[in-house]
Symmetry: C2
DNA sequence: ACCTGAACACCGTTCAAGT
DNA sequence: ACCTGAACACCGTTCAAGT
Protein backbone atom coordinates (compact mmCIF):
# COMPACT_ATOMS: atom_id res chain seq x y z
CA UNK A 1 0.00 0.00 0.00
CA UNK A 2 1.56 3.24 -1.14
CA UNK A 3 1.25 6.09 1.33
CA UNK A 4 0.71 9.03 -0.99
CA UNK A 5 -0.42 8.52 -4.53
CA UNK A 6 -1.34 11.05 -7.14
CA UNK A 7 -5.00 10.20 -6.71
CA UNK A 8 -5.12 10.87 -2.96
CA UNK A 9 -3.71 14.34 -3.33
CA UNK A 10 -5.03 17.44 -5.06
CA UNK A 11 -3.11 17.84 -8.30
CA UNK A 12 -0.45 20.51 -8.42
CA UNK A 13 -0.95 23.75 -10.30
CA UNK A 14 1.12 26.87 -10.63
CA UNK A 15 -1.21 28.63 -8.19
CA UNK A 16 -0.96 25.88 -5.58
CA UNK A 17 2.83 25.86 -5.88
CA UNK A 18 3.08 29.63 -5.44
CA UNK A 19 0.63 29.71 -2.54
CA UNK A 20 2.57 26.95 -0.80
CA UNK A 21 5.77 28.92 -1.37
CA UNK A 22 4.30 32.02 0.30
CA UNK A 23 3.02 29.95 3.22
CA UNK A 24 6.35 28.20 3.63
CA UNK A 25 8.26 31.49 3.70
CA UNK A 26 5.75 32.93 6.18
CA UNK A 27 6.07 29.98 8.51
CA UNK A 28 9.70 28.98 8.22
CA UNK A 29 11.51 31.98 6.75
CA UNK A 30 12.89 32.63 3.31
CA UNK A 31 15.91 30.36 3.77
CA UNK A 32 13.50 27.45 4.10
CA UNK A 33 12.06 28.18 0.67
CA UNK A 34 14.09 25.70 -1.39
CA UNK A 35 12.75 23.67 -4.28
CA UNK A 36 13.16 20.52 -2.24
CA UNK A 37 11.53 21.99 0.87
CA UNK A 38 8.67 23.34 -1.18
CA UNK A 39 8.12 19.96 -2.82
CA UNK A 40 8.14 18.31 0.60
CA UNK A 41 5.41 20.61 1.84
CA UNK A 42 3.33 19.70 -1.19
CA UNK A 43 3.90 15.97 -0.70
CA UNK A 44 5.67 15.70 -4.00
CA UNK A 45 9.13 15.14 -5.41
CA UNK A 46 11.29 18.20 -6.09
CA UNK A 47 11.34 17.56 -9.81
CA UNK A 48 7.56 17.75 -10.06
CA UNK A 49 7.72 21.48 -9.43
CA UNK A 50 9.54 21.98 -12.69
CA UNK A 51 6.44 21.00 -14.56
CA UNK A 52 4.66 24.07 -13.16
CA UNK A 53 7.45 26.63 -12.91
CA UNK A 54 10.45 26.99 -15.19
CA UNK A 55 12.97 27.20 -12.35
CA UNK A 56 13.50 28.74 -8.94
CA UNK A 57 13.81 32.28 -10.26
CA UNK A 58 10.48 31.97 -12.06
CA UNK A 59 8.98 30.60 -8.85
CA UNK A 60 10.22 33.63 -6.93
CA UNK A 61 8.86 35.93 -9.63
CA UNK A 62 5.48 34.30 -9.11
CA UNK A 63 5.74 34.61 -5.35
CA UNK A 64 6.45 38.33 -5.63
CA UNK A 65 3.50 38.69 -7.97
CA UNK A 66 1.27 37.10 -5.34
CA UNK A 67 2.49 39.48 -2.66
CA UNK A 68 2.03 42.54 -4.86
CA UNK A 69 -1.46 41.34 -5.73
CA UNK A 70 -2.20 41.16 -2.01
CA UNK A 71 -0.80 44.67 -1.63
CA UNK A 72 -2.98 45.95 -4.45
CA UNK A 73 -6.10 44.44 -2.94
CA UNK A 74 -5.33 45.84 0.50
CA UNK A 75 -4.68 49.26 -1.01
CA UNK A 76 -7.94 49.17 -2.95
CA UNK A 77 -9.85 48.23 0.17
CA UNK A 78 -8.23 50.95 2.26
CA UNK A 79 -8.56 53.68 -0.34
CA UNK A 80 -9.72 52.94 -3.87
CA UNK A 81 -8.73 55.33 -6.65
CA UNK A 82 -11.62 57.68 -7.44
CA UNK A 83 -12.90 56.90 -3.97
CA UNK A 84 -13.87 60.46 -3.15
CA UNK A 85 -10.96 61.40 -0.91
CA UNK A 86 -8.27 63.84 -2.04
CA UNK A 87 -5.14 62.46 -3.69
CA UNK A 88 -2.95 62.80 -0.61
CA UNK A 89 -5.27 60.98 1.74
CA UNK A 90 -5.84 58.29 -0.85
CA UNK A 91 -2.13 57.84 -1.55
CA UNK A 92 -1.28 57.88 2.13
CA UNK A 93 -3.86 55.26 3.07
CA UNK A 94 -2.96 53.05 0.14
CA UNK A 95 0.71 53.04 1.07
CA UNK A 96 0.01 52.46 4.75
CA UNK A 97 -2.14 49.50 3.72
CA UNK A 98 0.72 48.22 1.57
CA UNK A 99 3.01 48.40 4.57
CA UNK A 100 0.61 46.32 6.64
CA UNK A 101 0.76 43.57 4.06
CA UNK A 102 4.55 43.54 4.15
CA UNK A 103 4.46 43.30 7.94
CA UNK A 104 2.69 39.97 7.42
CA UNK A 105 5.40 38.86 4.98
CA UNK A 106 8.62 40.20 6.48
CA UNK A 107 10.76 38.17 4.08
CA UNK A 108 9.11 39.67 1.00
CA UNK A 109 11.02 42.96 0.53
CA UNK A 110 14.35 41.13 0.35
CA UNK A 111 12.99 38.83 -2.35
CA UNK A 112 11.39 41.72 -4.23
CA UNK A 113 14.74 43.51 -4.34
CA UNK A 114 16.35 40.56 -6.06
CA UNK A 115 13.88 40.52 -8.99
CA UNK A 116 15.32 41.71 -12.27
CA UNK A 117 12.05 42.15 -14.11
CA UNK A 118 8.72 43.67 -13.18
CA UNK A 119 5.69 41.40 -13.07
CA UNK A 120 2.14 42.22 -14.13
CA UNK A 121 0.89 42.81 -10.58
CA UNK A 122 3.56 45.42 -9.97
CA UNK A 123 2.80 47.16 -13.24
CA UNK A 124 -0.86 47.25 -12.33
CA UNK A 125 -0.09 48.62 -8.87
CA UNK A 126 2.08 51.36 -10.33
CA UNK A 127 -0.62 52.17 -12.85
CA UNK A 128 -3.07 52.63 -10.00
CA UNK A 129 -0.69 54.90 -8.11
CA UNK A 130 -0.28 56.94 -11.26
CA UNK A 131 -4.04 57.14 -11.55
CA UNK A 132 -4.29 58.57 -8.05
CA UNK A 133 -1.71 61.22 -8.88
CA UNK A 134 -3.48 62.07 -12.10
CA UNK A 135 -6.82 62.40 -10.34
CA UNK A 136 -4.99 64.78 -8.03
CA UNK A 137 -4.09 66.84 -11.09
CA UNK A 138 -0.42 65.98 -11.22
CA UNK A 139 1.28 66.31 -14.57
CA UNK A 140 2.75 63.03 -15.84
CA UNK A 141 6.16 64.57 -15.43
CA UNK A 142 5.64 65.34 -11.76
CA UNK A 143 3.89 62.03 -11.15
CA UNK A 144 6.90 60.30 -12.66
CA UNK A 145 9.30 62.12 -10.36
CA UNK A 146 6.98 61.35 -7.48
CA UNK A 147 7.10 57.62 -8.13
CA UNK A 148 10.89 57.68 -8.09
CA UNK A 149 10.93 59.81 -4.96
CA UNK A 150 8.63 57.40 -3.14
CA UNK A 151 10.73 54.53 -4.38
CA UNK A 152 10.20 51.26 -2.60
CA UNK A 153 8.14 53.09 0.01
CA UNK A 154 5.36 53.11 -2.57
CA UNK A 155 5.09 49.37 -2.03
CA UNK A 156 5.20 49.71 1.73
CA UNK A 157 8.91 49.06 2.30
CA UNK A 158 10.04 50.19 5.71
CA UNK A 159 13.38 51.98 6.08
CA UNK A 160 15.00 50.64 9.22
CA UNK A 161 18.18 52.20 10.50
CA UNK A 162 19.39 49.21 12.41
CA UNK A 163 17.95 45.82 11.81
CA UNK A 164 15.56 44.16 14.26
CA UNK A 165 17.74 41.83 16.32
CA UNK A 166 20.86 43.87 16.79
CA UNK A 167 21.27 43.03 20.44
CA UNK A 168 24.31 40.82 20.69
CA UNK A 169 25.42 42.14 24.07
CA UNK A 170 24.14 41.06 27.47
CA UNK A 171 22.14 43.59 29.47
CA UNK A 172 24.76 43.83 32.22
CA UNK A 173 27.58 45.73 30.56
CA UNK A 174 25.27 48.14 28.78
CA UNK A 175 26.76 51.03 30.71
CA UNK A 176 30.33 50.04 29.97
CA UNK A 177 29.60 49.52 26.31
CA UNK A 178 27.93 52.89 26.06
CA UNK A 179 30.97 54.57 27.52
CA UNK A 180 33.25 52.84 25.06
CA UNK A 181 31.01 53.74 22.13
CA UNK A 182 30.71 57.35 23.29
CA UNK A 183 34.25 58.10 22.22
CA UNK A 184 33.93 56.86 18.70
CA UNK A 185 30.26 57.59 18.13
CA UNK A 186 29.48 60.63 20.23
CA UNK A 187 26.43 61.84 18.34
CA UNK A 188 24.84 58.44 18.02
CA UNK A 189 25.26 57.81 21.72
CA UNK A 190 23.96 61.20 22.72
CA UNK A 191 20.94 60.80 20.48
CA UNK A 192 20.28 57.40 21.97
CA UNK A 193 20.45 58.73 25.50
CA UNK A 194 18.23 61.69 24.79
CA UNK A 195 15.58 59.67 23.03
CA UNK A 196 15.61 56.84 25.53
CA UNK A 197 15.18 59.29 28.41
CA UNK A 198 12.00 60.77 27.13
CA UNK A 199 10.57 57.69 25.51
CA UNK A 200 9.54 54.15 26.14
CA UNK A 201 12.35 51.72 25.38
CA UNK A 202 15.86 51.98 26.83
CA UNK A 203 17.69 49.68 24.42
CA UNK A 204 18.50 49.81 20.74
CA UNK A 205 15.02 48.65 19.77
CA UNK A 206 13.67 52.10 20.36
CA UNK A 207 12.25 53.25 17.06
CA UNK A 208 8.52 53.30 16.58
CA UNK A 209 8.39 51.96 13.10
CA UNK A 210 4.89 53.15 12.34
CA UNK A 211 5.75 56.68 13.42
CA UNK A 212 8.95 56.79 11.39
CA UNK A 213 7.24 55.36 8.34
CA UNK A 214 4.52 57.98 8.48
CA UNK A 215 7.05 60.74 9.08
CA UNK A 216 9.02 59.87 5.97
CA UNK A 217 5.91 59.33 3.89
CA UNK A 218 4.35 62.63 4.93
CA UNK A 219 7.57 64.47 4.29
CA UNK A 220 7.44 63.26 0.70
CA UNK A 221 3.72 63.74 0.18
CA UNK A 222 3.80 67.25 1.64
CA UNK A 223 6.72 68.12 -0.58
CA UNK A 224 4.92 66.80 -3.62
CA UNK A 225 1.83 68.78 -2.74
CA UNK A 226 3.85 71.97 -2.74
CA UNK A 227 5.34 71.17 -6.13
CA UNK A 228 1.93 70.43 -7.55
CA UNK A 229 0.60 73.91 -6.81
CA UNK A 230 3.54 76.30 -7.05
CA UNK A 231 3.18 79.16 -4.54
CA UNK B 1 58.55 21.47 -8.58
CA UNK B 2 55.35 22.72 -7.03
CA UNK B 3 53.67 25.51 -8.94
CA UNK B 4 52.33 27.64 -6.12
CA UNK B 5 53.73 27.30 -2.64
CA UNK B 6 53.03 29.32 0.47
CA UNK B 7 56.38 31.03 0.16
CA UNK B 8 55.89 32.29 -3.38
CA UNK B 9 52.61 33.98 -2.53
CA UNK B 10 51.83 36.87 -0.20
CA UNK B 11 50.29 35.38 2.91
CA UNK B 12 46.55 35.74 3.35
CA UNK B 13 45.04 38.18 5.78
CA UNK B 14 41.51 39.23 6.55
CA UNK B 15 42.11 42.47 4.64
CA UNK B 16 43.46 40.69 1.55
CA UNK B 17 40.53 38.29 1.59
CA UNK B 18 37.98 41.10 1.83
CA UNK B 19 39.66 43.20 -0.84
CA UNK B 20 39.74 40.22 -3.18
CA UNK B 21 36.05 39.64 -2.46
CA UNK B 22 35.18 43.22 -3.45
CA UNK B 23 37.29 42.95 -6.61
CA UNK B 24 35.73 39.64 -7.54
CA UNK B 25 32.20 41.00 -7.13
CA UNK B 26 33.12 44.10 -9.15
CA UNK B 27 34.55 42.07 -12.00
CA UNK B 28 32.34 39.01 -12.12
CA UNK B 29 29.16 39.91 -10.27
CA UNK B 30 27.89 38.95 -6.86
CA UNK B 31 26.88 35.44 -7.93
CA UNK B 32 30.55 34.72 -8.62
CA UNK B 33 31.45 35.56 -5.03
CA UNK B 34 31.52 32.04 -3.61
CA UNK B 35 34.00 30.78 -1.04
CA UNK B 36 35.50 28.51 -3.65
CA UNK B 37 35.67 31.20 -6.31
CA UNK B 38 37.22 33.63 -3.87
CA UNK B 39 39.84 31.08 -2.85
CA UNK B 40 40.63 30.44 -6.50
CA UNK B 41 41.28 34.11 -7.12
CA UNK B 42 43.65 34.14 -4.17
CA UNK B 43 45.48 31.03 -5.38
CA UNK B 44 44.47 29.12 -2.31
CA UNK B 45 42.19 26.29 -1.27
CA UNK B 46 38.66 27.17 -0.20
CA UNK B 47 39.25 25.97 3.33
CA UNK B 48 42.09 28.40 3.88
CA UNK B 49 39.63 31.26 3.93
CA UNK B 50 38.09 29.91 7.11
CA UNK B 51 41.25 30.72 8.97
CA UNK B 52 40.65 34.42 8.28
CA UNK B 53 36.87 34.72 8.32
CA UNK B 54 34.44 32.72 10.42
CA UNK B 55 32.16 31.85 7.51
CA UNK B 56 30.57 33.33 4.41
CA UNK B 57 28.23 35.61 6.32
CA UNK B 58 31.13 37.09 8.26
CA UNK B 59 32.97 37.56 4.97
CA UNK B 60 30.00 39.47 3.54
CA UNK B 61 29.81 41.58 6.71
CA UNK B 62 33.43 42.51 6.12
CA UNK B 63 32.81 43.27 2.47
CA UNK B 64 29.97 45.62 3.37
CA UNK B 65 32.21 47.30 5.92
CA UNK B 66 34.79 47.94 3.20
CA UNK B 67 32.19 49.50 0.92
CA UNK B 68 30.81 51.71 3.65
CA UNK B 69 34.34 52.80 4.51
CA UNK B 70 34.80 53.78 0.89
CA UNK B 71 31.51 55.68 1.05
CA UNK B 72 32.61 57.50 4.20
CA UNK B 73 35.89 58.53 2.64
CA UNK B 74 34.21 59.75 -0.53
CA UNK B 75 31.69 61.71 1.52
CA UNK B 76 34.43 63.29 3.61
CA UNK B 77 36.31 64.31 0.51
CA UNK B 78 33.23 65.77 -1.16
CA UNK B 79 31.96 67.60 1.91
CA UNK B 80 33.54 67.09 5.30
CA UNK B 81 31.47 67.82 8.40
CA UNK B 82 32.34 71.28 9.78
CA UNK B 83 33.62 72.10 6.34
CA UNK B 84 32.12 75.56 6.22
CA UNK B 85 29.14 74.87 4.01
CA UNK B 86 25.59 74.90 5.38
CA UNK B 87 24.08 71.60 6.55
CA UNK B 88 21.96 71.09 3.46
CA UNK B 89 24.76 71.53 0.97
CA UNK B 90 27.02 69.35 3.06
CA UNK B 91 24.43 66.61 3.43
CA UNK B 92 23.51 66.77 -0.23
CA UNK B 93 27.09 66.53 -1.46
CA UNK B 94 27.92 63.74 0.96
CA UNK B 95 24.98 61.65 -0.18
CA UNK B 96 25.67 62.32 -3.86
CA UNK B 97 29.24 61.16 -3.24
CA UNK B 98 27.91 58.04 -1.55
CA UNK B 99 25.83 57.30 -4.60
CA UNK B 100 28.87 57.57 -6.87
CA UNK B 101 30.61 54.90 -4.83
CA UNK B 102 27.65 52.55 -5.18
CA UNK B 103 27.64 53.12 -8.92
CA UNK B 104 31.10 51.57 -8.90
CA UNK B 105 29.82 48.60 -6.88
CA UNK B 106 26.39 47.93 -8.31
CA UNK B 107 26.09 44.62 -6.47
CA UNK B 108 26.65 46.22 -3.07
CA UNK B 109 23.15 47.48 -2.14
CA UNK B 110 21.67 43.99 -2.49
CA UNK B 111 24.34 42.58 -0.18
CA UNK B 112 23.92 45.43 2.29
CA UNK B 113 20.20 44.72 2.51
CA UNK B 114 20.86 41.15 3.56
CA UNK B 115 23.01 42.11 6.58
CA UNK B 116 21.34 41.54 9.93
CA UNK B 117 23.75 43.55 12.02
CA UNK B 118 25.37 46.94 11.62
CA UNK B 119 29.13 47.09 11.29
CA UNK B 120 31.51 49.70 12.70
CA UNK B 121 31.90 51.58 9.41
CA UNK B 122 28.15 52.06 9.10
CA UNK B 123 27.87 53.26 12.68
CA UNK B 124 30.63 55.75 12.04
CA UNK B 125 28.97 56.94 8.83
CA UNK B 126 25.68 57.46 10.63
CA UNK B 127 27.45 59.28 13.41
CA UNK B 128 28.92 61.66 10.86
CA UNK B 129 25.53 62.29 9.25
CA UNK B 130 24.15 63.03 12.67
CA UNK B 131 26.97 65.45 13.25
CA UNK B 132 26.09 67.33 10.09
CA UNK B 133 22.47 67.61 11.21
CA UNK B 134 23.56 68.78 14.66
CA UNK B 135 25.85 71.39 13.18
CA UNK B 136 22.80 72.52 11.22
CA UNK B 137 21.02 72.98 14.54
CA UNK B 138 18.68 70.04 14.28
CA UNK B 139 17.36 68.65 17.54
CA UNK B 140 18.29 65.01 18.09
CA UNK B 141 14.64 64.15 17.74
CA UNK B 142 14.33 65.73 14.30
CA UNK B 143 17.71 64.37 13.23
CA UNK B 144 16.52 60.92 14.20
CA UNK B 145 13.37 61.24 12.13
CA UNK B 146 15.49 62.62 9.31
CA UNK B 147 17.73 59.56 9.27
CA UNK B 148 14.71 57.28 8.99
CA UNK B 149 13.18 59.46 6.31
CA UNK B 150 16.35 59.36 4.23
CA UNK B 151 16.54 55.63 4.80
CA UNK B 152 18.87 53.77 2.49
CA UNK B 153 19.18 56.90 0.37
CA UNK B 154 21.51 58.17 3.10
CA UNK B 155 24.01 55.57 1.90
CA UNK B 156 23.45 56.45 -1.72
CA UNK B 157 20.93 53.76 -2.65
CA UNK B 158 19.12 54.55 -5.86
CA UNK B 159 15.39 53.94 -6.11
CA UNK B 160 14.72 52.48 -9.50
CA UNK B 161 11.20 51.94 -10.68
CA UNK B 162 11.97 49.24 -13.17
CA UNK B 163 15.23 47.43 -13.11
CA UNK B 164 17.99 48.06 -15.65
CA UNK B 165 17.55 45.32 -18.23
CA UNK B 166 13.82 45.05 -18.54
CA UNK B 167 13.82 44.75 -22.29
CA UNK B 168 12.74 41.24 -23.11
CA UNK B 169 10.86 42.17 -26.24
CA UNK B 170 12.33 42.76 -29.68
CA UNK B 171 12.22 46.29 -31.05
CA UNK B 172 9.89 45.34 -33.88
CA UNK B 173 6.58 44.77 -32.12
CA UNK B 174 6.98 47.76 -29.82
CA UNK B 175 3.91 49.39 -31.30
CA UNK B 176 1.75 46.30 -30.96
CA UNK B 177 2.88 45.71 -27.42
CA UNK B 178 2.12 49.28 -26.47
CA UNK B 179 -1.41 48.94 -27.79
CA UNK B 180 -1.97 45.75 -25.82
CA UNK B 181 -0.57 47.31 -22.65
CA UNK B 182 -2.61 50.46 -23.07
CA UNK B 183 -5.80 48.65 -22.13
CA UNK B 184 -4.55 47.27 -18.87
CA UNK B 185 -2.08 49.99 -17.95
CA UNK B 186 -3.50 53.17 -19.43
CA UNK B 187 -1.72 55.66 -17.16
CA UNK B 188 1.66 53.98 -17.36
CA UNK B 189 1.47 53.88 -21.14
CA UNK B 190 0.33 57.47 -21.44
CA UNK B 191 3.11 58.61 -19.12
CA UNK B 192 5.63 56.70 -21.16
CA UNK B 193 4.43 58.24 -24.39
CA UNK B 194 4.41 61.77 -23.02
CA UNK B 195 7.85 61.52 -21.51
CA UNK B 196 9.42 59.77 -24.47
CA UNK B 197 8.06 62.42 -26.82
CA UNK B 198 9.72 65.31 -25.11
CA UNK B 199 12.83 63.53 -23.93
CA UNK B 200 15.82 61.58 -25.11
CA UNK B 201 15.15 57.85 -24.99
CA UNK B 202 12.18 56.16 -26.59
CA UNK B 203 12.27 52.83 -24.76
CA UNK B 204 11.76 51.75 -21.18
CA UNK B 205 15.26 52.81 -20.21
CA UNK B 206 14.17 56.40 -20.08
CA UNK B 207 14.79 57.57 -16.57
CA UNK B 208 17.72 59.83 -15.86
CA UNK B 209 18.89 58.24 -12.66
CA UNK B 210 20.94 61.18 -11.50
CA UNK B 211 18.01 63.55 -11.97
CA UNK B 212 15.58 61.30 -10.16
CA UNK B 213 17.98 60.69 -7.31
CA UNK B 214 18.49 64.42 -6.82
CA UNK B 215 14.77 65.07 -7.07
CA UNK B 216 13.93 62.64 -4.29
CA UNK B 217 16.85 63.75 -2.15
CA UNK B 218 15.99 67.44 -2.48
CA UNK B 219 12.34 66.75 -1.72
CA UNK B 220 13.43 65.25 1.59
CA UNK B 221 16.09 67.82 2.42
CA UNK B 222 13.78 70.74 1.60
CA UNK B 223 11.09 69.20 3.76
CA UNK B 224 13.50 68.76 6.63
CA UNK B 225 14.65 72.32 6.31
CA UNK B 226 11.10 73.53 6.74
CA UNK B 227 10.62 71.40 9.83
CA UNK B 228 13.84 72.66 11.34
CA UNK B 229 12.68 76.26 11.32
CA UNK B 230 8.92 76.25 11.82
CA UNK B 231 7.34 79.14 9.96
C1' DA C 1 -0.68 15.54 -19.00
C1' DC C 2 1.60 15.02 -14.91
C1' DC C 3 5.04 13.15 -11.96
C1' DT C 4 9.42 10.53 -10.64
C1' DG C 5 14.50 8.44 -9.97
C1' DA C 6 18.92 8.71 -10.77
C1' DA C 7 22.56 11.56 -11.66
C1' DC C 8 25.41 15.92 -12.16
C1' DA C 9 27.66 20.11 -10.97
C1' DC C 10 27.92 23.06 -7.53
C1' DC C 11 27.46 25.00 -2.80
C1' DG C 12 29.11 26.01 2.45
C1' DT C 13 31.27 23.77 6.03
C1' DT C 14 33.50 19.93 9.52
C1' DC C 15 37.36 17.86 11.02
C1' DA C 16 41.63 15.84 11.40
C1' DA C 17 45.91 16.39 9.42
C1' DG C 18 49.92 18.47 7.36
C1' DT C 19 54.00 22.12 7.39
C1' DA D 1 50.42 30.07 12.78
C1' DC D 2 48.72 29.05 8.56
C1' DC D 3 47.03 26.06 5.05
C1' DT D 4 45.14 21.60 2.96
C1' DG D 5 42.42 16.98 1.58
C1' DA D 6 38.83 14.31 2.08
C1' DA D 7 34.28 14.08 3.24
C1' DC D 8 29.37 15.55 4.39
C1' DA D 9 24.96 17.60 3.86
C1' DC D 10 22.68 20.33 1.02
C1' DC D 11 21.56 22.98 -3.22
C1' DG D 12 19.29 23.71 -8.29
C1' DT D 13 18.75 21.32 -12.37
C1' DT D 14 19.15 17.68 -16.64
C1' DC D 15 17.28 13.97 -18.74
C1' DA D 16 15.11 9.88 -19.79
C1' DA D 17 11.56 7.28 -18.04
C1' DG D 18 7.31 6.01 -15.88
C1' DT D 19 1.84 6.27 -15.45
Amino acid sequence: MVAESTQERAPLSKERVLQAAVDLADEAGIEALTMRGLADRLGVEAMSLYYHVANKEAMLDGVVDMIVTEISEAADEAAPPSGGADWKTTMRNRILAAREVLLRHKWAPAVMETRTSVGPATLRYYDDLLRVFREGEFSYDLAHHAMHALGSRALGFTQELFDPADQETGDEDMEAEMAAMAEELPHLVEMLMEISHEGAETTLGWCDDQTEFEFGLDLLLDGLERLREPA
